[in-house]
């Protein structure tokens, strides 16, 4: 049984989430936006795992597994969309998505 500062880990999760949010807001390349979304999902998973460790219950890790499955599904569809987008516009600029129209 080890004593670990859970506050620090929650803080770490908050910092990672804020960094991911900054990445989503400031990048214009769709690949980087997707990577930042991954960072945010990972930070949320970290918060769930630290909650699981705090109460000695497996539920938090179960939620982490669900987040993992959701991230895998999201990234596969997202990257397929990116390929499609690049094929039709020859750019990765997110602003070009305004011309998509269906």
């Amino acid at each position: 049984m080890n004593s670990v500062s859970g506050e620090f880990v929650l803080l770490l999760s908050g910092i990672l989430f804020a960094l991911g949010l900054t990445g989503v807001l400031m990048r214009r390349n769709i690949i980087f936006i997707l990577m930042s979304v991954e960072i945010m999902l990972n930070a949320a998973g970290l918060a769930f795992v630290v909650a699981a460790a705090r109460w000695h219950q497996p539920d938090g890790q179960v939620m982490f597994i669900f987040i993992l499955a959701m991230a895998a599904a999201e990234v596969s569809v997202g990257l397929a969309l990116v390929l499609r987008f690049f094929r039709s516009f020859k750019t990765l600029d997110a602003d070009a998505a305004g011309r998509m129209r269906g």
Partner: protein, 175 residues
């Protein structure tokens, strides 16, 4: 134990900072892998070895390989890094960074004001996680499998080359 936690948390923050500031997509991806590995180490130190293994296998393994393949297919060269550097002007990132910093400050304030300072950590074994996963959370597992199936079908549908357009073209020219 706490020192290891601080070191890996520090590495995670630094490498994530590098991810959102790099101009070359492959460099950012490699930093993201470092970040995921250090978060996995944090999981292990928190007594969640199953989550740590899944983080390495699924996140740092499968999902990052998907990203690498897409970046290879997009064939982004040196000029894309140049354009990326042009897009990353200070006017573009100072606003979002300040707003995120404000939100983070609120979060830090809320966390430091809380009563639970130190938590005791015991290991949650993979067996417990599995029993919980296939006991009370069985419906969630089913929903996750449906989600993954729809993701698979969606990715196949979106990534497929436009057969219909080619066929229409051929029919128009054929007979």
């Amino acid at each position: 134990m706490n020192t290891l936690l601080y070191i890996s948390g520090f590495v995670a923050v630094i490498s994530t900072l590098m991810v959102i500031t790099r101009t070359n997509a492959v460099h950012a991806l490699l930093y993201l892998i470092v970040s995921l590995l250090s978060v996995s180490l944090v999981f292990f130190l928190l007594g969640a070895p199953f989550a740590a293994a899944l983080e390495v296998i699924v996140y740092a393994g499968a999902i990052m390989v998907l990203f690498i393949f897409v970046i290879m297919m997009l064939n982004a060269g040196a000029d894309s890094a140049k354009q990326e550097r042009q897009w990353l002007s200070p006017a573009g990132w100072i606003g979002p960074a300040c707003l995120s910093a404000v939100l983070l400050g609120e979060l830090v304030y809320a966390l430091t004001g809380s009563s639970t300072k130190i938590i005791m950590v015991g290991m949650v074994s993979p067996k417990q996680v599995g029993i919980s996963l296939f006991g009370p959370y069985l419906i969630g597992v089913e929903l996750a499998s449906i989600l993954l199936l729809s993701g698979l079908i969606g990715a196949y549908h979106l990534g497929r080359p436009d057969k219909t357009e080619e066929k229409e073209e051929k029919e128009r020219n054929g007979p």
